[in-house]
């Protein structure tokens, strides 16, 4: 695969505050890559650097192998779909979309043809003459995408493009964007703080936190084999338990020794153990590898989400079995349900559901972003 963009050891500080810290990353041609991370981790800054609106303090940006640090935005083969669309209010839908073509003095007939074609693609065929201020959020979104695509950039940058849409529309647009990406073959660099969105759309996910890359991989890699406690916690729910790697394929935690599929750690190396809530089997207490008391049961529709106190550590388990609060249950873990991670600075910060409350979580999710 061809590398279209390479970032080499990029660092950036605003007013002495480090925002990006030694970021190295390459982006393959035609791929859908997502920058995923919590609000404030530097996603927008990184995207703006690729677009040419910010300059790295250190490091290089390469486009097809050529250094483009000093190439201004209008000379980069990269277009952006801005966070709040940034449509030109003095131009109608047609003229917004035609904007880049008029700049390159494309003949009139060709402009007409191309604009109408792309408005069709984003399903705004009948809106050409409308004022952009009269459009709904979803429609403005499509205009922004059409405008960014019409000059056939090599790379399209999208900064939380679906953030302002309601859930239903968001899901539809996710599908549509993915379709557009596949049909045009343009490389998409997509920014989001929504892990589900990232998992469902991307070929590659780059997880960022505090201006550092935490992990790069396919959605399955990131989900199944997180590199550290931050990634494990940020991508889906995880129980993260202190453990000790006894030898290859043998890990001990919560007072029990488990078989696992991981190797390559030093003997008796302290590690973080990740167990996804859906990978835990509930069994009778005497048959369990571990046992504990159910402290909370939440009905989630398809499954129950239960919190179980096992030796003082609270686990989250998703099960279709029906259990009751105060019930004593056993749990059993298959070797492939266990994932071992090296200790990191995030060890001990995540993955314990002691103070967990569903409602609080939802409140935090809703209030977390603008």
């Amino acid at each position: 695969m061809k590398k279209i963009i390479e970032l080499k050891n990029i660092s950036k500080a605003f007013d002495g505050e480090g925002v990006l810290n030694d970021i190295s990353l390459y982006i393959n041609d035609n791929e859908f890559i997502t920058l995923l991370g919590p609000s404030g981790c530097g996603k927008t800054t990184l995207l703006r650097m690729i677009g040419g609106f910010e300059h790295p303090d250190k490091g290089d940006i390469l486009f097809l192998g050529e250094r483009i640090n000093d190439v201004p935005p209008h000379k980069r083969h990269v277009n952006t779909v801005f966070q709040k669309y940034a449509l030109f209010p003095h131009l109608n839908v047609f003229e917004n979309v035609a904007f880049p073509l008029r700049e390159c003095k494309v003949p009139k007939d060709e402009i007409n043809k191309k604009v109408n074609e792309i408005l069709g693609l984003v399903m705004l065929g009948n809106f050409a003459g409308r004022s952009v201020t009269s459009l709904s959020g979803g429609q403005q979104q499509r205009v922004a995408i059409a405008r960014a695509l019409i000059s056939h950039p090599r790379v399209l940058l999208l900064d939380e493009p679906l953030g302002a849409l309601d859930l239903k529309l968001r899901k539809d647009m996710q599908q549509e964007l993915k379709k557009i990406q596949q049909s045009t073959g343009i490389t998409f660099v997509f920014v989001t703080h929504d892990q589900e969105e990232a998992l469902s759309m991307s070929d590659t996910i780059v997880v960022l936190n505090e201006g550092k890359i935490q992990q790069i991989g396919t959605p399955a890699d990131i989900y199944n084999e997180p590199d550290n406690a931050f990634v494990a916690d940020f991508i889906g729910e995880s129980n993260i338990i202190d453990g000790v790697m006894l030898e290859n394929y043998k890990v001990s935690f919560s007072g029990h020794t488990f078989e696992c599929l991981d190797k390559g750690f030093a003997a008796n190396e302290p590690v973080d153990v990740v167990v996804r809530p859906e990978d835990v089997d509930i069994v009778a207490p005497e048959k369990g590898m571990l046992s504990g008391t159910v402290t909370q049961v939440t009905f989630m529709g398809v499954h129950n989400e239960i919190i179980v106190d096992i030796g003082g550590f609270k686990w989250m388990i998703q099960t279709t079995d029906s259990v009751n609060v105060d019930e004593h249950i056993g749990i059993s873990l298959d070797p492939d349900a266990i994932h071992i991670m090296k200790k990191s600075k995030y060890s001990g910060m995540f993955g314990d559901y002691s103070s967990y409350s569903n409602e609080l979580d939802e409140l935090a999710d809703a209030g977390g972003e603008e």
């Binding site: 201004p72 209008h74 990269v78 952006t80 209010p89 904007f99 700049e103």
Partner: protein, 289 residues
């Protein structure tokens, strides 16, 4: 957006409405009333026709005497000086507003204050200051003399009047343009760059069209007072350039209140029509605003 707020919005506006009725609407009605009546307050259109038909003889440049329509000539002269001054204000104000809006926040505040400081000073004093600057033995000529350059004669010329107008009304041009540029969404400028515009393209295709409402209000706010000014032309033009404002003042002092009102009324109608036309065309082009 909500142009049609009703009920609740009226109450806070009440003092303002009262104020504007008392000090704007009522005087305007009086002006119209005086314009269309004679000394005995009987209806007449005499005053209005006089504006268009009164003639006088002036010496043309080749020395011959010519009969001209007095007030139309005066109006034409006022319009010419006002348009030139407005144009100069725009030419200087637009780039300056653009640069200001792009400066650091602190710099912006300082510049706005600097532009407004002269406005805190009395208008007459400012004009007097320009007299001492522009006089044949004034500051400019002293400086020129210091460098051994021949003195130049400015005071009493159209140039002096234009300098005075530009100086006095410049803030009214730059401030509306600056304020619209300062609050322009920088994302729009970035989007334009992203879509292939260089700096000039961004200015031409995005900043300029979006700043037009500011330009229009700047032009209005400079053109109207400069078309009706009288003091500047008297002091800096040495009374040689009789303007429409001078005419109104002169008639008023001579106690021809009805004719003074008629001139004022005609001036007002002409300006209103001009503004209406401009507004119509801008709202047609930029429907969103």
């Amino acid at each position: 957006m909500n142009k049609h707020k009703k009920g609740g919005a009226f109450l806070p506006l009440a003092p303002y409405s009262l104020w504007s009725v008392l000090f704007i609407v009522v005087p305007l009605i009086f002006v119209a009333y005086y314009a269309f009546t004679d000394e005995a307050f009987r209806f007449t259109t005499e005053n209005i026709t006089r504006f268009f038909t009164a003639t006088s003889n002036i010496q043309a440049e080749d020395g011959t005497m010519q009969e001209v329509r007095t007030y139309l000539v005066i109006f034409g002269r006022s319009l010419k000086l006002a348009v030139i001054s407005t144009f100069i204000c725009l030419l200087m104000g637009y780039p300056m507003a653009y640069i200001m809006a792009r400066a650091k926040e602190r710099t912006q505040k300082i510049l706005v204050t600097l532009i407004m400081i002269p406005m805190w000073m009395n208008f007459l004093i400012r004009t007097y200051a320009w007299m001492t600057i522009l006089q044949d033995t004034g500051i400019i000529n002293n400086i020129l003399g210091f460098f051994g350059i021949q003195p130049i004669h400015i005071i009493g010329t159209e140039t002096a009047v234009i300098i005075g107008m530009v100086y006095d009304y410049f803030p009214y041009m730059i401030l509306p343009i600056y304020s619209i540029m300062a609050k322009m969404d920088t994302k729009l400028l970035e989007a334009a760059r992203d879509l292939g515009c260089n700096s000039f393209g961004v200015l031409r295709r995005v900043i300029f069209p979006l700043s037009l409402p500011g330009v229009i209000s700047g032009i209005t706010m400079v053109l109207i007072p400069s078309i009706s000014t009288f003091y500047i032309s008297q002091k800096l033009g040495n009374g040689k350039f009789f303007l429409i404002g001078d005419a109104i003042e002169g008639q008023y002092i001579a106690n021809n209140l009805h004719f003074a009102a008629a001139i004022a009324f005609i001036l007002m109608v002409i300006l209103l029509v001009c503004m209406g036309v401009v507004k119509y065309f801008t709202s047609k082009t930029y429907g969103g605003e």
